[in-house]
Symmetry: C3
Subunit: 319 residues, 3 copies
């Protein structure tokens, strides 16, 4: 079966997942993002690459922050951005998802940025576009269920490459609720594609998926073991709904076992970087002293995220 | 009384209804829309006709889809578009509709796109603007109560003209809940103005208005009779709230009597086109096989709708 | 302590309050606004002064009208405007206000327009930006709690100067619920800075703050006394929530004592102007005959408000 993200020439036509994304495509995105990083520091932060293109933000699940990053990226590329409040739209009136897509394509949409609570929704849209022969319309997955959040995965890779260069020499620890995290899943696939030296998944048994060892990931239930001599630490957000449930005793207990404190951070390499996809729960998964400390690169991640999203959009629009 | 849609020179100054719209004005809009059709297929889908103009979307009744079509049309004309969430605005704080309008005019609004649950609200605004001497500010009715939805009526005419050319030779069947449909009302007036050969209204007695025969419309309570040898079939959306009420036994029963199936469609001319204003209730008023079949022009309607709205806005801004 | 609104060169770097704003800065804003007034009457109502800048509307408290005025002002300066629905954003997920700000700064925000129910929130943001060394990011207070609404205060000054010129010769009466009004507070500070001849606060004891006399304001509990020979009358909106509470017997009673009727207006100078920040409660604080009469300058206030906001934004972006 053809990789649904690539066209016949092997070029990126949708961004759905970091799973199955060839290393060269990832590298192309990161290289393009490097060139965009400078634009956001200019006095006039705009390039005309998507001028006259219509980008639709289809957020079936609410996320002001992620929507904002895509909106900024698209506007800096000079696109026309249309935000659809999908929860109040025709889809709510019983229209099917694909009828909605067909309608927007008929309005000459060029790109859909899709966030959906159901895993696979962006795939469904991409497959439909292929079926109706519209290779000129592109889908970017902005997070689907527990499945994937590829632009977050790519901006994480951009961040690691920015600070650490050679992936093959690195030890990367991902800490927290990996089971429910589309960010972790996207990071794991991208880290594998880029040939990362050692990848560790750190968390309580109840929050780790079972197939990790088959992916070549080292599983650690103990935070100290997981962090020792790490070059990169990726902390995950603990969703509020997990904190008082069957999976976890309490937020305080979680912080005690898996919270990143200065003492714990000291176990990693002295020049280790600390990442977090945001928004942070200070005092739950991360101590404020670490979050605001010199090793944290959490705000640079946000800056890189705009450049990575501009890169993805401009590559899609160019193909 | 002066036609409230036209200025003293007989030019379009507001678009409020297809009722009373002279044939030449309708033709001017359709001809202008033809020229815009090409813009949406360009690489850079923009023309500077409304650059620096402020278009306000005033949707007192929520409709993401219709608002989106106007937003796209305005942005492709390079206008600044401001979406007002009117349900949360000063009007909700007890300010009158006309105070809101006066305020927006004081901010140098150029155009209001108005959707309102009350029939006549866009007229009220247009009359007020005339009273205060602001001929340079224009109103487009985007649907008012059960009264009118003139851009939908005009895009339907554009669609018919596109596929069928000469209206005088055509038989057009409008099927469904005509009584509550502002789309049907706008179509009926426009079809009359363009000298359509035969217009049929098809539906159960409870969903047809009483004055149809006085408008020269042929009333059919039987779908087969209504469709026989028709050139154009316009299916109407059955509002959910009608389905279990006093007017209709059930959605299943409705589909049995008035749903457009392949067998029913076969009664029309072999080259008949099938239209629907969307969003469709598949399996209620239309069978999916017809909706997705070769005679359906439902998605082209959407494409034409952008061009027609661009035409209306550019004509208004030019006058 | 350094004035948090000015940089070391004494130039405006944030607009937080009219309190402490030097007279020359106020005059600079009003003079700049005069030059912008003409732009909104042009055919193409746009200047490229903020092209490529990202302006974020952060409305923690809903206000469609005020947000719209800032959105129009920013778009006429060619900025990219991003509206954040903050009530649905990460802040709602427990992220702190300053984490949200840090994130948006990392996305290369240039300006924040902030409305917040808590007095001081815009100050907090401005202080934070100074602490992290980001003098290139600017805050405009669009209303914080009962504290300040400086762009409204400045547009009121613009209006008075437009119609009356020399402040030192004027008697200005502010009528209504001064205790809870950030507009009144911003007007009082600006009127003082501009050396207004006589300022009167008119209202029932329960709706006037206690420290007015220390500010040199003459307190009048009787409307007739308050209006006599006034040049300028600023009516305040009576918030609905005040009308049936402990502070006021009823809206009807209030109108009887403090509503501006034609008879009351006749006590002021014959060329007195009547102002109101909107939205008006007709028949509560102001009679429709006055609101729509020749002495009302309520709609010009709205027009001037766009020019004043363009002036503030362009001065901030230039510094």
């Amino acid at each position: 079966m053809r990789n649904p993200q690539l066209n016949d020439a092997g070029e990126l036509t949708h961004l759905l997942s970091t799973d199955g994304l060839p290393r060269e495509v990832i590298t192309q995105i990161l290289d393009t993002a490097s060139s965009f990083l400078e634009i956001s520091t200019r006095d006039v932060k705009k390039v005309p690459l998507l001028r006259g293109k219509s980008v639709f933000n289809l957020f079936f699940e609410n996320s002001t922050r992620t929507r904002t990053t895509f909106e900024i990226a698209a506007k800096r590329l000079s696109a026309d951005v249309i935000n659809l409040d999908v929860s109040r739209s025709s889809t709510a009136k019983g229209e099917t998802l694909l009828d909605t897509i067909d309608n927007l394509v008929a309005m000459h949409a060029d790109m859909f940025v899709v966030r959906h609570a159901s895993s696979g929704a962006p795939y469904l849209i991409a497959e439909h576009l292929q079926r109706v022969g519209r290779d000129d319309v592109h889908v970017v997955n902005a997070g689907d269920g527990r499945h994937a959040h590829p632009t977050q995965g790519l901006l994480d890779m951009f961040t690691i490459r920015h600070y650490k260069q050679d992936f093959s020499q690195l030890t990367v620890a991902i800490v927290g609720d990996i089971l429910h995290s589309r960010v972790a899943r996207s990071d794991l696939h991208a880290l594998a594609a880029l040939g990362t030296g050692e990848v560790r998944a750190v968390g309580p048994q109840t929050l780790l998926p079972s197939a990790l060892d088959k992916m070549g990931v080292r599983v650690c239930h103990d935070l100290a073991t997981g962090l020792r001599d790490a070059d990169v630490i990726i902390m995950l957000r603990l969703q509020n709904e997990r904190m008082n449930g069957a999976l976890l005793p309490s937020a305080r207990e979680y912080f005690h076992c898996y919270g990143l404190t200065p003492a714990m951070l000291a176990l990693a390499k002295p020049d280790a970087i600390v990442m977090h996809p945001g928004p942070m729960n200070r005092g739950v998964e991360i101590d404020s002293e670490v979050a605001d400390g010199p090793q944290a690169v959490i705000l640079p991640q946000v800056t890189f995220g705009i450049a990575v999203r501009m890169a993805v959009m401009s590559i899609l629009a160019g193909n």
